[in-house]
């Protein structure tokens, strides 16, 4: 059962890093990809219809950790308290920038919101780099808090940026694609790198020590395994609906 729970957890985490990682990356590169207000709105339209569907993978990851591996929740979150506070604040600031940017029709308002998207995306990417680096170095001792990996992991943020550029090549249209091509990046390569780093970090964690009792673990594992095809189906409907390049500005 623990293997099933771990596989489900790996799928959810990989889903987050690959799908939402691209949104974070595009947010980081927003000033590079979009030079004026109209272009920035198009750049945001490349991932706007997907960002809600992308970040739910992390919420599901946190849910599975709480249900199946409750020991990891407090080891990781209290151990890396400041890093996760930064991660959450970055996430909130990024999301609010996205939600709010179209709500008031004024240049300064949009500039502040776009600033929030860029700053939030960078903080989010750096925080993920720090978390992954800490787990890679600390392994079973993550509850001891920050270690040398916390700092060494920070450059991983650049993988998110490159991943975002790879995504932008596939999603933007016209002259903006040319600009995205200036940043070296292939979507599938950076996706593989992100998943590989995640698997390597996950490999180092002491799962048996943090797992719930077999009954509770089994409940969460079975439920997730049953739900997973439905969740992927819902996501596929989103990908199908918003396939193709973003040629016109959207709701945000």
């Amino acid at each position: 059962m623990q293997t099933v729970a771990l596989l489900v957890l790996a799928v959810f985490t990989a889903g987050y890093l690959v799908l939402a990682g691209a949104d974070i990356g595009v947010g980081m590169l927003l000033p590079v990809l979009g030079r004026d207000a109209r272009q920035r709105r198009l750049v945001i339209a490349s991932f706007a219809p997907l960002f809600l569907a992308d970040e739910v993978w992390l919420v599901a990851t946190a849910g599975v950790v709480a249900g199946a591996f409750p020991g990891l929740e407090h080891a990781l979150l209290s151990g890396l308290h400041p890093v996760f506070v930064a991660l959450l604040v970055g996430w909130i600031v990024r999301d609010m920038g996205l939600w709010l940017r179209g709500r008031v029709d004024a240049a300064r308002w949009r500039a502040v919101c776009d600033g929030a998207v860029v700053a939030g995306s960078w903080v989010l990417a750096l925080a993920w780099g720090a978390v992954l680096g800490t787990v890679l170095v600390g392994g079973g001792h993550v509850e001891d808090g920050v270690n040398v990996g916390t700092v060494l992991g920070l450059p991983l943020a650049l993988v998110f940026a490159v991943h975002g550029a790879g995504f932008a090549r596939l999603r933007l249209a016209g002259g903006l694609v040319e600009r995205a091509r200036r940043v070296p990046g292939r979507y599938w390569v950076s996706a593989l790198v992100l998943v590989a780093v995640m698997v390597a970090a996950g490999w180092r964690l002491p799962w048996s020590q943090v797992a719930a009792s077999p009954e509770a673990l089994g409940l969460t594992a079975v439920l997730c395994a049953v739900m997973l095809p439905l969740l992927v189906g819902a996501q596929a409907l989103v990908w199908w609906t918003f396939r193709g390049r973003a040629e016109s500005p959207g709701y945000l």
């Binding site: 569907a53 849910g63 709480a66 506070v85 999301d95 939600w99 002259g175 439920l223 997730c224 819902a234």
Partner: protein, 415 residues
């Protein structure tokens, strides 16, 4: 600012409180928007279509705050309350896992599809989406109240080496404090959305804006929601008193007996909740009484559409009544949660023991940062809700088609 326990508690209260204030409206408004869109889709009525977009826009603005505060809540358990995940983690975590996988994942995925897919999807598919969003929002509320019900009245577990093990998931999922609270919250959400719709409609009818027809219909929808939910909400609330902790009402014989039992089991200490809990109870019941009076007037006026459109005193009344459901929601939350103190899990784990052993400085820093961010967030969104409510259906961008702009050549920088 040097008491980490107090700071962590206030931080949780601010997060959960602001979350609940917005989520109450989300729950009820999703249902009313889904109903309006159903009418629009079935009848092809243009007014119903514009109503869907107007109230849908307000729903989306409101939803954004609920989602963001909800994310922080999910992580806050591990950040500040690691004692809880250490002792009751797997029992409390099970409904949280179910909430994310069965409810929230689908809710948020389909909401994105509903918002951005307005002009791309078949209208029946689009209608189905909002119903799935509304249904999964209720699933979400149910699972969260299962988790909260366990804190209020722990069931379905066995203590083993100081750790709670899940033994009976059926008991956990059918805990009366969860089921009755769910009914209470469902009708509380509808009541909030009903008052919200009536107040915004009242504003436009009072000001005699151009949208008399649309807002007369909206006023009726809101008032019907108010009339239908004002008594069930009290019924579900009242029935819960059978399962309420004895110490929630200090001074009674049951409370004294329970305190004596706690002192025998856990040693001397103060096992009565702060007085704020009773203030919450009184405020909630008072707000409900005022709301039931407004509902009574609404019941008399509902059959007369013209009167709804013209009666200006009534418009002022429903505008003035808008804070009432919010007062009831937040004070009901205070009654339930503060009334459980000093316990995190009643009779199992104290709030003090649930606190993480992170340095006081880190707790203080996260308190300051989150409080500042949430203050801005709530202020901006309340302002936006008011602004969009005031501007009326003409200003709605949700579902409005945007023509592709002609492409201008992208200037390549010469560095």
């Amino acid at each position: 600012m040097d008491d980490p326990l107090l700071l962590a508690r206030v931080q949780f209260a601010l997060t959960a409180g602001s979350h609940f204030l917005f989520v109450a409206l989300t729950l009820g408004l999703a249902t009313l928007v889904a109903l309006t869109q159903t009418i629009a889709t079935l009848s092809g009525s243009a007014v119903a279509e514009r109503m869907t977009r107007f109230w849908g826009q307000l729903y989306v603005i409101n939803y954004a705050v609920g989602i963001v505060t909800g994310l922080v809540m999910e992580f806050q358990f591990g950040l500040n309350w690691s004692g809880m995940s250490r002792v009751v983690g797997e029992v409390f975590g099970a409904p949280l896992a179910m909430e994310t996988v069965v409810a929230f994942f689908v809710e948020s995925t389909f909401l994105g599809l509903w918002i951005f897919g307005w002009d791309r999807l078949n209208r029946w598919v689009h209608l189905a989406l909002i119903w799935v969003v509304a249904a999964t929002a209720y699933f979400s509320a149910y699972f969260i109240l299962v988790a909260n019900g366990f804190l209020q009245r722990p069931v379905g577990y066995r203590m083993q080496d100081g750790v709670a093990r899940l033994t009976d998931v059926g008991a956990l999922l059918t805990n009366p404090t969860a089921l009755l609270a769910f009914g209470h919250v469902v009708f509380g959400g509808l009541l909030t959305a009903g008052f919200f719709m009536a107040a915004v409609s009242g504003y436009h009818l009072f000001r005699r804006t151009a949208e008399a027809d649309l807002f007369r219909r909206s006023m009726r929808t809101g008032l019907v929601a108010v009339v239908l939910s004002v008594f069930p909400v009290a019924m579900f609330g009242g029935t819960q008193f059978r399962y309420v902790q004895p110490t929630k009402h200090p001074g009674t014989d049951e409370a004294a007996a329970q305190v004596a039992q706690f002192q025998a089991r856990f040693g001397p200490g103060d096992y009565t909740p702060p007085g704020l809990a009773s203030v919450g109870e009184i405020a909630m019941v008072s707000a409900w009484m005022l709301m039931s009076l407004v509902a009574l007037v609404a019941l008399v006026k509902l059959p007369f559409g013209r009167w709804l459109e013209r009666g200006r005193v009534f418009h002022v009344l429903v505008m003035a009544a808008l804070p009432l459901p919010y007062v009831a929601v937040i004070s009901g939350w205070v009654f339930r949660e503060v009334g459980r103190q000093p316990w995190m899990v009643y009779g199992v784990l104290t709030t003090e023991d649930a606190l993480s052993d992170v340095p006081a400085g880190a707790v203080t820093a996260s308190f300051v940062v989150f409080t500042a961010v949430f203050a801005v967030l709530v202020a901006v969104n309340v302002w936006l809700l008011a602004r969009y409510a005031r501007r009326g259906p003409e200003a709605v961008r949700l579902g409005a088609l945007e023509a592709p702009e002609p492409e201008r050549p992208v200037l390549t920088p010469s560095l």
